[in-house]
């Protein structure tokens, strides 16, 4: 891709538009129907917005990076069973330690440890799944989906062994929503997200090369293996963050990443990543606004995203996106 001024301009303008729209959503969300009680409304809503920004960022960036690494637009960390792995991890921790021990531990420390375990797990999973080299995309996809079923079944297996009172504790964690995020968790998530982004930022250029394919990337001098494992670590951290904050959202990343690629019409990650993040924020905040204000539905956004994302996934397959 040559860097002529004209080609630079179009994605830039589109980005500006998306960013403006995202900002508009934030402003509307913060101010609509406030009723004059600003001292209460603003901090309360600011926390919601912060959660949405974090989650949107985490889901969008992790999906785009993951798709670059596996060189496929239909795979996402969630479809590969990542966030069910996180649920399994949560359940096993509760199962083996008990809710009293868990509650007595520092939530921030616990979360950091969980994310670390996730990163190790996912790295292992990926080495196993992707290092084979010639495995077909279809096989990967199906394996990922079935792994997701396996992790979910294992979680519910363990949940059945847990006493009902303890199970309530777990359910609270699974179904955390945008509405009452834990401020401690929010802070840790923010720190981890920033850390992951700092780790990932120097790799952006390499990402552009990676999307040309493994062989080309190696020919062009990218240390493929190292880059990929670092990117996957970033993905693992971000997936854990988003799952911890709002629970698993299988198809949202797919929706956002594909829309972003389609809208900015650029293959450079400098363009695609922010576009995906803006779209995620627009989708989450805008969706929440419409649900709350128009339909007064409250916390059902995740289910709707799942519904729309699933339909998009199938239509992608029908248009032959999976080669």
């Amino acid at each position: 891709m040559s860097a002529s001024a004209l080609q630079w301009e179009a994605p830039g303008r589109r980005l500006l538009l998306l960013g403006g729209l995202a900002l508009f959503c934030v402003v509307v969300f913060m101010t609509v129907d406030a009723g004059g009680r600003w001292d209460f409304v603003l901090p309360f809503r600011a926390r919601k917005v912060a959660t949405v920004l974090l989650v949107g960022y985490a889901i969008a960036v992790s999906t785009v990076l993951f798709q670059t690494v596996v060189e496929n637009r239909v795979l996402t960390p969630a479809i590969m069973g990542f966030d069910t792995l996180y649920l399994l991890l949560q359940t096993s921790l509760l199962f083996f330690l008990g809710s009293r021990t868990l509650a007595s531990l520092d939530a921030r420390l616990l979360f950091t440890v969980e994310v670390a375990i996730m990163a190790v797990f996912s790295a292992a999973l990926h080495r196993w799944l992707f290092e084979g080299g010639r495995r077909s995309v279809h096989l990967l996809l199906l394996t990922g989906v079935v792994l997701g079923v396996l992790f979910r079944s294992l979680s519910s297996f363990l949940q059945r062994l847990i006493a009902p009172g303890e199970f309530d504790f777990l359910q609270d964690r699974f179904f955390a929503s945008f509405n009452n995020p834990d401020p401690d968790l929010l802070l840790v998530s923010a720190v981890l997200t920033v850390g992951a982004s700092v780790l990932g930022f120097p790799l952006l250029r390499a990402c552009d090369v990676l999307s040309l394919g493994r062989d080309v990337a190696i020919n062009l001098g990218v240390d493929h293996r190292r880059t990929v494992s670092r990117l996957l670590a970033v993905v693992a951290v971000l997936v854990s963050v988003s799952t911890a904050l709002v629970g698993p959202v299988t198809f949202f990343g797919l929706l956002v990443a594909n829309l972003a690629h389609g809208l900015v019409r650029s293959h450079r990650h400098v363009h695609v990543l922010p576009a995906a993040v803006f779209l995620a924020v627009i989708g989450l905040l805008g969706g929440q606004l419409v649900l709350e204000r128009v339909f007064s539905f409250g916390a059902n956004l995740r289910v709707i995203i799942e519904f729309l994302g699933g339909i998009m996934f199938i239509s992608l397959l029908m248009r032959g996106a999976l080669r």
Binding site: S136, L139, L141, V149, S153, F157, E306, F307
Partner: protein, 357 residues
């Protein structure tokens, strides 16, 4: 159908060995002689009966094994047996049998090894149907509810087949992905309404296959699934032919759409009955027919008895495991089958890595 049964020794071997087109698991080089096959089937049946006996004897209330032989001496044990244990064991076997056969039929109709009611959205659309009945017409008798669920299951499965037709460059492995995602879409819709009307908990109770509440008087609908399985056996040859493709079927003078509609109806009704009475049991329809196809090949008339016997055995085994792991509590069979089945499925997928895809 005037075709003689597989066990009649004079029956010549069919001149072709049907296979599903895209994924070919290995076929036995020479189908075994019919007499030997019958013997092995009998042995498998005996093993399942032993499992059934075990299933009768375990549980919270003590039932000594000789209560089966001398019922007069153990009146209380006999009561437990009649009201709870026998219905439970029977319903396990019936559900396992019919779900496994339903999986086999779906695999032949979709011409894909990885399809079953759980990986094609059939089970999820059936539970969407149940939810719809619960919300719109809560007073309906159980038979009518099941009928509505079957209607939904059929519509969902037909949608699945329709989508499959429109996917270009169809790979065998994309098919179950589409089914699972379609199932997730139905599931999202179901969850949405269940959440709105505070039915989430009852929804969870329906959708996990669980036999702990099976008592005399609560499971008899499953005999309907058994009848459907028998029907499937009677018309088995048509499914074998349909599994060879539309053109082939038409060449033989049979109506492909009609066979598909018949098969779909059987699958949808079986799934609806099982979901309505005990909940979903994932992966049975997938694992069992695949294992059977390794043993006896793909002639439906020969494989249906095997699929039925092994399906019953698989569910019995999962249920026994679920009951023993944490006595006196139990883990629902759907959960155990989910773990065992997905592991078996992964094994199936990754072991033949070179051949598939």
């Amino acid at each position: 159908m005037s075709t003689p049964g597989p066990d009649s020794p004079s029956l010549p071997e069919p001149g072709f060995t049907p296979r599903a087109p895209a994924v070919s698991l290995p076929q036995p080089a020479q189908p075994p002689a019919n007499g030997g096959a019958l013997l092995r089937l009998a042995a498998a049946g005996l093993a399942v009966l032993v499992l059934a006996g075990t299933s009768l004897l375990i549980g919270v209330s003590d039932v000594p094994w000789d209560a089966l032989l001398a019922p007069a001496e153990h009146p209380r044990a006999v009561q437990v047996l009649i009201i709870s244990r026998v219905p439970r064991t029977l319903s396990l076997m019936l559900a396992g049998m019919s779900l496994a056969v339903a999986g086999l039929i779906m695999q032949m109709l979709a011409r894909n090894r990885f399809v079953e009611p759980f990986t094609a959205g059939t089970a999820e659309s059936a539970s969407l149907g149940l939810l719809a009945v619960t919300l719109l017409a809560p007073g309906l008798p159980i038979l009518a509810r099941t009928a509505v669920a079957a209607g939904f299951a059929m519509a969902g499965t037909a949608l699945f087949l329709l989508i499959l037709r429109r996917i270009p460059l169809r790979s065998a492995l994309v098919v179950p992905v589409v089914g699972l995602v379609l199932g997730a879409i139905f599931d999202a819709a179901t969850t949405f309404f269940a959440y709105r009307f505070s039915l989430l908990q009852s929804l969870m109770a329906w959708t996990t296959g669980d036999f702990s509440s099976v008592l005399r008087g609560r499971y008899e609908l499953l005999w309907g699934a058994f009848v459907l399985t028998v029907v499937a056996y009677v018309v088995a040859d048509r499914f074998t032919v349909a599994g060879l493709g539309e053109a082939f079927t038409t060449n033989l003078g049979l109506s492909h759409p009609r066979i598909v509609a018949l098969g779909l109806s059987i699958v949808a009704m079986v799934t609806a009955v099982v979901v309505a009475t005990v909940g979903m049991i994932p992966f049975i329809g997938l694992v069992v027919p695949n294992v059977v196809s390794l043993i006896v090949g793909d002639n439906a008339r020969r494989s249906i008895p095997w699929v039925a016997v092994l399906g019953a055995g698989f569910v019995l085994l999962c249920d026994i495991v679920g009951r023993v792991v944490r006595q006196p509590y139990e883990i629902p069979v759907g959960t155990v089958a989910g773990v065992v089945g997905s592991l078996a499925f992964l094994h199936l997928l990754l072991r033949r890595n070179g051949r598939v895809g």
